[in-house]
Amino acid sequence: MAGLKTRKQQRLVVVSIALTSLIGATLLILFALGGESLSLFLQPSDVQKRNVAVGQNFRLGGLVETGSFSRLDDGLTFRFTVTDCLANQPVEFTGILPDLFREGQGVVTEGALNESGVFMASTVLAKHDENYRPPGTMPKEEGQCSHPDDQAAAASYAEG
């Protein structure tokens, strides 16, 4: 009986150590090393920092700057500025915008920069924030850079 007990204890120790080291290692790799490559999109300040080449396809995400949205005369082409509060990126898109597209709200766009530094988007997806409220109540000033994502991004950008 004593032998059985120690075998069980051995198994407990072995399985526990294997499990914690596996989980620790994986999370460390993903969190510490995979941050950039596992991210879905670049923010405008990343685009500046990295000097992305003209014509290279990537995803751009951030908030649609309040007051930046305009529709061109053809009625199907839209211009707006995506901001992460550190940098701005003008975007042009021809097509149908999702229902949730709004100034002051998040977007994720896919496309490439042209020669004059405008991001020519081929798709625009709306990103909504974590607030759920009844109509007519506002969680905070729209269009202000108070989005937690962006604050975190701004903080990490300032540090590094």
Binding site: K8, R11, L12, V15, L19, L22, I23, T26, L27, L30, F31, G34, G35, L38, S39, L40, F41, Q43, G61, L97, P98, D99, L100, F101, R102, Q105, V108, T123, V124, L125, A126, K127, H128, D129, E130, N131, Y132, R133, P134, P135, G136, T137, M138, P139, P148, D149, A152, A153
Partner: protein, 244 residues
């Protein structure tokens, strides 16, 4: 006889819990659906489509909860070789797979009108898809390996290795930029969801939890029966002279 003592006790316990769990499910589901459709406002941004949240979020929570049940059961099975632990893992897996599939499907149906796409390979969506594959892999291992003991060990190890995916799902929206928004309820600075919408969400989450309890207990009893039948078959094969 020791092998049978525990399951018999478990069956008695299950039979005592089942009526309460079923009652709780019916009440919570009724109240939850009432609030979800008749006593909660549309969202200030998402309008009526927000009502998908009341089934999407509970399914996603339960997908992770069920995985933890399966993982704890697998850990117990590997370390202490408790006969009921393997059965608990087997009982939980299909329920978890259904919850995960529903979280993905309802999420796609919500994403299309709101985000503008059914699917995007961001950290959250991808890690939940991996969760579905972990469930399917766990069940497939049980199917693929004939010898019960080996199958149980292989499946349990897979379940434990897959635990790493749970914190990845949870923190994917904080670590990486994703299309999916960050957490609204389980966050350090308190929920960012209005009380009128939190109410139906929590009721539906309770209903899903009760549903899990009921179906899990049924499946546990079912797995115990299967085990009994397998043992009986072996006994009759090896000792046909009616030895018990």
């Amino acid at each position: 006889m020791h092998r049978f003592a525990n399951p018999a006790q478990f069956n008695r316990l299950a039979d005592a819990i089942l009526p309460w769990a079923t009652g709780a499910f019916v009440l919570l589901l009724g109240a939850g659906l009432y609030y979800a459709f008749f006593d909660s406002p549309p969202d200030y941004q998402q309008g009526e489509s927000v009502r998908v949240m009341y089934i999407h979020v509970p399914a996603a929570w339960m997908a992770m909860f069920t995985y933890m049940v399966m993982a704890v059961a697998s850990f117990t099975a590997l370390v202490w070789r408790h006969p009921l632990a393997l059965l608990a893992g087997r009982a939980a897996a299909p329920i978890g797979a259904v919850f995960t599939a529903l979280a993905l499907i309802t999420g796609m149906l919500w994403g299309k009108p709101m985000w503008g796409t059914y699917w995007v390979w961001d950290g959250r969506l991808t890690s939940v898809l991996v969760l579905l594959f972990l469930y399917l892999g766990y069940m497939a291992l049980w199917q693929a390996i004939d010898e019960e003991e080996k199958a149980g060990r292989a499946a349990s190890i897979l379940a434990l290795v897959g635990v790493v995916n749970i914190p990845i799902i949870k923190f994917s929206v904080d670590w990486w930029s994703t299309l999916h928004q960050p957490a609204s309820v389980m966050r350090l600075d308190g929920p960012t969801i209005d009380g009128s919408m939190l109410m139906p969400l929590l009721l539906m989450a309770g209903a899903y939890q009760a549903y899990f309890a009921v179906v899990f207990l049924w499946r546990m009893k079912l797995e115990i029966n299967r085990r009994k039948l397998a043992v009986a078959r072996q006994v009759s094969m090896h000792a046909p002279v009616g030895a018990e």
